[in-house]
Symmetry: C2
Subunit: 153 residues, 2 copies
């Protein structure tokens, strides 16, 4: 998958799943919603820690992140037609956003993407993932014109 197509799929994905490494070297994975911020050549994904449920667990997650900030996340499309399967994977480094302006921009980007955040603005910590690499795969090439094929006899 070419990089433009891979970024387009990250940009439009409504949910992704993020893996981190705990202090005891175990993998940890969560679904999360995010906004992709693109300031060429930098690409940053922002997510905000929910203020409502499980506050102590969320803070633990952030402490873990600061101890080993390596992050990988994946967006993918599942379809019962396995010729339509695809995924895009990004790896990068997480940090808690301290800068007030960057935090404002991140929350704005999240509210632009998710009306759910417009109804109930978040006040939890914002985490940025500075993306270093992107990699994508599709069972068949996206958008490419395919030769018309007769159904199997």
């Amino acid at each position: 998958m070419d990089p433009d197509e891979a970024w387009a799929r990250v940009r439009s994905a409504r949910v992704a799943r993020m893996a981190t490494v705990t202090p005891s070297n175990r993998p940890h994975v969560i679904p999360f919603v995010f906004a992709l911020f693109e300031r060429d050549p930098d690409r940053v994904v922002y997510w905000v820690v929910d203020r409502k449920p499980k506050r102590s667990r969320d803070l633990k997650r952030i402490r873990n992140l600061l101890e080993n900030p390596a992050v990988e996340f994946v967006v993918d499309g599942y379809d019962e037609d396995w010729t339509r399967l695809w995924w895009v994977r990004c790896s990068g480094t997480a940090r808690v956003v301290d800068d007030a302006r960057e935090r404002h921009e991140a929350l704005h980007a999240l509210q632009e993407k998710y009306k759910q955040y417009r109804d109930t603005p978040e006040d939890g910590p914002v985490v940025a993932v500075d993306i270093a690499t992107i990699d994508g795969w599709a069972a068949r090439a996206p958008r490419s014109p395919r030769p018309s094929a007769a159904p199997p006899a």
Copy 2:
């Protein structure tokens, strides 16, 4: 979420995302299809490495797994109505299935669940994840009768 409900959601999920830790202590995450095998009290998830694409990468993934066999995977439901969000997370230990009978049962379970595997049987390595813990969350309690609520004024 109670354990029975959590297991039911793992059982019926068509896809999950699995996190592992690489030899350089970085997180790695992939979407995968799987079958849950239940022999009380043991629960094992099986997946089979695709034979077709990216064989060398897949073998690398297995080597990584054997070096640090800790695995966590998540199944989840995304919905634009965020009161319907949920996830179930399992952590466990991965191993390559060497026993011929276990391999046969695993491939059978995968073919029962996915007709796609009936059309084109897999011949790659089968990986088992012996599940140690399960944890689930739903934005609202599943299936529980809710008091009827008037819409906000």
